[in-house]
Symmetry: C2
Subunit: 309 residues, 2 copies
């Protein structure tokens, strides 16, 4: 799947992933009202609203981008109907040829981590049959429990040709509370990054990248520069661009000389672009066109930064 991700990036010339994190306050009134008319103000109504909203965005941007990253929490909060909307979104994006990164941040131990890996990347055995449950292409994984938590994911990735992104240095202000603490003079995120590089050695795609990637926030460009060297073969998933403050110029350190090795996420900066002054002229009805315009602007911002480095 790392090969498909790279192929999609080359095809679109855009190392961009659109975060499908549909908060209700982003969903235009006309979509919300239509869903509530059909299902009432229920969890089903909310799930229908976010699904229709997502579908509009995907239809408007799929030809410009290599990948999407639905954030499962935004669906999980709407219970079973929300999880159905998540699954519909995953399936629809895959039909459109997009690589789907499930932002699930799962992580547990042993057989439990294996169950999460199976849930999101693998197939579960039921009697003589096997089924994919949510069946994303990549999943994000939390490393706090150590390699017991990560190795079951690697096993499933090998079998299914899928991939993971391990949380290394997250984009939030308090990420340093734990991740920046020094162990023998080295920050914890760097230790985790070294593990990512080691896990990746045995998990190589057909080119020069492994399918064990890392999450490093755009809000920490200096750390991105260091981690780029620590994990030369890992793809870096970079959240925090746009709404969280990361800029195109901050991103160059996350890429390798080949122009690859990073994929930059923007969520509300794209999907709720119509709520920003810059794109307000699209209006609520034009939210999907606004998202498309925001993708084009983001692509240019990153291309310019990479050209100027």
């Amino acid at each position: 799947m790392i090969d498909k991700l790279i192929e999609n990036i080359k095809k679109t010339n855009a190392p961009i992933v659109v975060g499908l994190d549909p908060m209700m306050k982003f969903v235009p009134e006309h979509i919300r009202q239509a869903a509530f008319r059909e299902y009432g103000e229920t969890l089903e109504g909310a799930a229908e609203a976010i699904w229709q909203y997502n579908k509009g965005i995907v239809d408007a941007v799929y030809d410009l981008i290599p990948a999407v990253k639905p954030q499962i929490a935004m669906y999980e909060q709407f219970g079973i109907p929300g999880m159905i909307a998540f699954k519909k979104t995953v399936d629809y994006c895959k039909e459109k040829g997009l690589v789907v990164i499930g932002d699930v941040k799962r992580g547990d131990i042993g057989s439990t981590s294996e169950a999460y890996a199976v849930a999101h990347l693998g197939k579960v055995q039921v009697g003589s049959k096997a089924y994919g449950a949510f069946d994303e292409d990549f999943a994000t994984v939390n490393p706090y429990l150590g390699s017991d938590g990560v190795k079951p994911f690697l096993k499933v990735c090998k079998e299914e040709k899928k991939g993971i992104f391990v949380l290394v240095k997250t984009s939030n202000p308090s990420s340093g509370e734990l991740q920046d603490r020094l162990v023998d003079g080295k920050p914890i995120y760097e230790l985790v990054g070294e593990q990512v590089a080691a896990w990746g050695e045995e998990c190589m795609g057909s080119g020069s990248y492994s399918y064990v990637g890392a999450v490093v926030g755009a809000t920490y460009p200096e750390q991105g520069r260091i981690m780029r060297k620590v994990m030369p073969k890992a793809f870096i998933l970079v959240p925090g661009y746009g709404a969280q403050g990361g800029k195109g110029a901050d991103l160059v350190h996350f890429f390798n000389e080949d122009g690859l090795g990073a994929i930059v996420n923007s969520s509300r900066g794209i999907i709720a672009a119509y709520q920003q002054e810059q794109y307000a002229h699209f209006g609520e009805q034009g939210y999907a066109d606004a998202a498309r315009a925001a993708v084009v602007a983001m692509r240019e911002d990153i291309a310019e930064a990479l050209n100027n480095r």
Copy 2:
């Protein structure tokens, strides 16, 4: 909810939580076959099998125990039908008066962490209505992302009178890879424990315990002893008893002098007791009675250890 947990522990005289982690290989043949006859070898069939299996166990043990801990990964791997079985299990256990600890190990940042908190402990707003999605009583939370990831849970806990258990020192062999690393001479799990104690200061139940608890594995009794002192007001959820190797005598350090402060989890040791030599005479058909016998034995093991300290 911490008050109810303590009340339930006093009532049952058993600081025990039964881990409802239904792997298919634990489910007796007759339950599996009945489910497959009705739904085929499908995700629905698997979900029906684990739900019926759970129900049998809960019916057999609910009067002996204060709480259950369903491990969501074991349901998530069966997709939407699995999530429905999870929700049915949560609801059924609550009807039986049990405290439900959702072992979800979620953790993200800002609005995403809030969405997880809402999904598992709170209510989500849909237009003018509000709904609980999965609606457990407690949830387990991963601290790798720092306080940005935990505070949204605290907010929801305050509003809804619920609680969390933060991963501090997990029970698995490789938990030390990250958690034991020394920062200024102190292991990381202790730093996280100090945060748990600080978060708990503002989140007190009506007695002497906070509703911000911690997870510390039974497999690390020495660390349990230290963490008991670092977090005197935190309830400690102790996994790793039984199948993972923790014994009654290892557990005394996790309790305070009042005999409270810890709740010990056993999963397969209870729910798959019939597969152990000691309880094999119950047979597959008697799996629920075997679980009851295993709960009684565990209760005695812990009581004896506490009496002998």
